[in-house]
């Protein structure tokens, strides 16, 4: 079938709703969007090339600086890969502390994504509430690790700092407060009629399309795919983790999956604080020669690290696969097909939570 295109509408690269630069080229007839292309490549860093030949101490910090929103998981997956290839064991307490910090990072990332969505559909009040709630999560990260975004918390064989007695109390108090606020905000999102108009049945990504375009993370789970790499992680298996799946396939489902995952993260943190065993937080271990691939679950989906080291503990080869590229693919080819209004383009794009910095390493 031949498409009749009236206007080719460019969105971006610099757009008030985008956190990072990307360009969407839409083909439209009137208000209806027929198809879209997404262009990246405005902030390429070349960080993988910089990593090669450096010792793990430097690569650990470079990995954190790939993405400013999900920095903890980059650190965690790189360190776990290095541990696996040189057979370093992690003490039990350190493994639980890692889960706590990782889940706090997931909370702040999901809050930013939902803030961004609410801002795009012009519900600024809820957006403001959510970005304030994100501050609470970041304050807890600062309390535990001493830094807000680039925490540098994990090292091979454990973590760098232990919880103090007051810290656990402060953390559980903050979790209670956060849950109370979040219930209110989730109700606002669920019951808001204008939010429903802008998000329900907009940007449909069916289960088949999601499988075709290899969508990952909350985007895939909102389309009814039960896939989460945390189920393969030994510490999460001990905590009894099961992923959250919704099957309405639209922007509303993607945002709601993130809200529900924040509740789940709060529960996981509480479980960790209850079960937290006593003992060492740092075992010894030297990084040796080897090669390994390990997959972790970033806030946006699967994050793969392939690392090869030489006998001095320097990184000889590194390959990173970040989650967002598949979600952007799904967004360009399936979600932005037959969108009824040009105003829904940005909100649909943001609902898949694209992370441009992760892709342009």
């Amino acid at each position: 079938m031949k498409k009749t295109v009236d206007v080719s509408l460019p969105v971006g690269p610099v757009h008030p709703c985008f956190k990072e630069p990307a360009r969407i080229k839409c083909q439209t007839t009137g208000e209806k969007v027929l198809s879209a292309e997404i262009e990246l490549g405005y902030v390429k860093k070349g960080i993988e090339r910089i990593m090669v030949g450096r010792p793990w101490q430097e690569v650990m910090f470079l990995a954190e600086r790939i993405c400013g929103i999900c920095s903890v998981i980059h650190n965690m997956v790189f360190i776990e890969t290095v541990e696996k290839l040189s057979d370093i064991n992690v003490p039990k307490r350190a493994a639980y502390l890692r889960v706590i910090v990782n889940e706090l990072d997931r909370i702040q990332s999901h809050m930013l994504a939902n803030y961004s969505y609410c801002y795009t559909i012009e519900h600024e009040t809820l957006a403001m509430y959510l970005i304030n709630l994100r501050e609470t999560a970041i304050d807890q990260l600062e309390l535990i690790t001493g830094a807000r975004i680039t925490c540098a918390y994990m090292i091979p064989g454990g973590v760098r700092f232990d919880l103090k007695e007051n810290d656990a109390e402060k953390l559980s108090f903050a979790m209670d407060k956060m849950e109370k606020d979040l219930i209110r905000f989730t109700n606002m999102f669920e019951s808001g009629p204008l939010i429903g108009l802008r998000s329900k049945n907009v940007g449909i990504l069916t289960r088949e399309d999601a499988i075709l375009s290899h969508a990952v993370g909350p985007t895939a789970r909102a389309s009814g795919i039960n896939a989460d790499q945390r189920t393969n992680h030994p510490t999460y298996q001990e905590l009894g983790f099961s992923p959250i799946v919704m099957d309405s396939c639209d922007s509303y489902a993607r945002v709601m999956v993130r809200f529900k995952e924040v509740f789940q993260s709060i529960e996981l943190i509480r479980k960790c604080l209850d079960k937290l065993p006593k003992g060492l937080i740092r075992g010894g271990g030297v990084v040796t020669e080897g090669e390994y691939t390990w997959i972790g679950e970033a806030p946006r989906g699967e994050l793969t690290y392939h690392v090869k080291t030489d006998k001095y503990g320097r990184v000889a080869e590194i390959a990173i696969q970040t989650p967002s590229i598949m979600n952007i693919e799904a967004c360009a080819h399936h979600m932005l097909k037959n969108v009824d209004s040009a105003a829904d383009v940005t909100s649909t794009f943001i609902s898949s939570d694209p992370c441009i910095a992760c892709n342009e390493r």
């Binding site: 010792p55 600062e142 001493g146 540098a152 760098r160 937080i281 740092r282 075992g283 010894g284």
Partner: protein
């Protein structure tokens, strides 16, 4: 219509009014656990250079001699990424940043580091610049000169049988002087770091 009620309900909450009426910005102070740039604690630096060797950011820290002859680490804030590794690795607690020092004391954690010297034979031209420049070699054998006329085998490295041989790598302190003086870039110093915690 429903959203109007939502807003009215939101604005009628006493918590909202409390926030609205008693809003006051607290003064800007960093909390005690905030990992700021490292600062000096006043302890004496013994010039072990571990902070320089573990620093992941190039050019962020340098240990310089002050006018009264003491060694002192200098932090260049433009390069520093505030990871705090220099604070954690220093055996004399010269630097401090946030509560890293007290955490290390309560957890009894530390870094153990050793160094390996690697010589690329295809690049090395046996000029023995590295052996002569090495400050440890100078202390062990002051007579070590060009073309390695010394016969002492206690030094870290020297040219032996027309080949640069590493004799005692465990004496290396990782100052990288050999790496800097080598005209061909044939010798490299690799550090091996192990995070460690004492058991009770």
């Amino acid at each position: 219509m429903l959203s109007v009620f939502c807003y009215i309900k939101e604005f009628l909450r006493p918590e909202w009014w409390k926030k609205f009426l008693f809003a006051k910005t607290p003064p800007l102070t960093s909390p005690s656990y905030f990992r700021d740039y490292p600062h000096l604690t006043g302890n004496e630096c013994t010039h072990e250079l571990r902070c320089m060797m573990i620093c992941p950011s190039p050019g962020a820290i340098e240990v310089l001699k002050t006018d009264d002859g003491r060694w002192e680490p200098v932090i260049y804030k433009g390069h520093c990424i505030r990871c705090g590794l220099c604070v954690e690795v220093c055996p004399d607690n010269v630097l401090a940043s946030g509560r890293i020092l007290e955490q290390n004391e309560t957890d009894r954690t530390s870094y153990l580091s050793s160094y390996r010297l690697n010589v690329d034979d295809s690049l090395c031209m046996r000029c023995s610049n590295c052996s002569v420049a090495c400050p440890i070699n100078k202390v062990i054998d002051p007579n070590l000169a060009y073309n390695a006329t010394s016969s002492s085998d206690d030094v870290i490295m020297r040219v032996k049988n027309s080949k640069l041989t590493i004799l005692h790598p465990e004496k290396c302190t990782g100052c990288k002087t050999c790496e800097k003086t080598c005209p061909n870039g044939a010798i490299t110093v690799a550090r091996i770091v192990e995070g460690d915690q004492d058991e009770e």
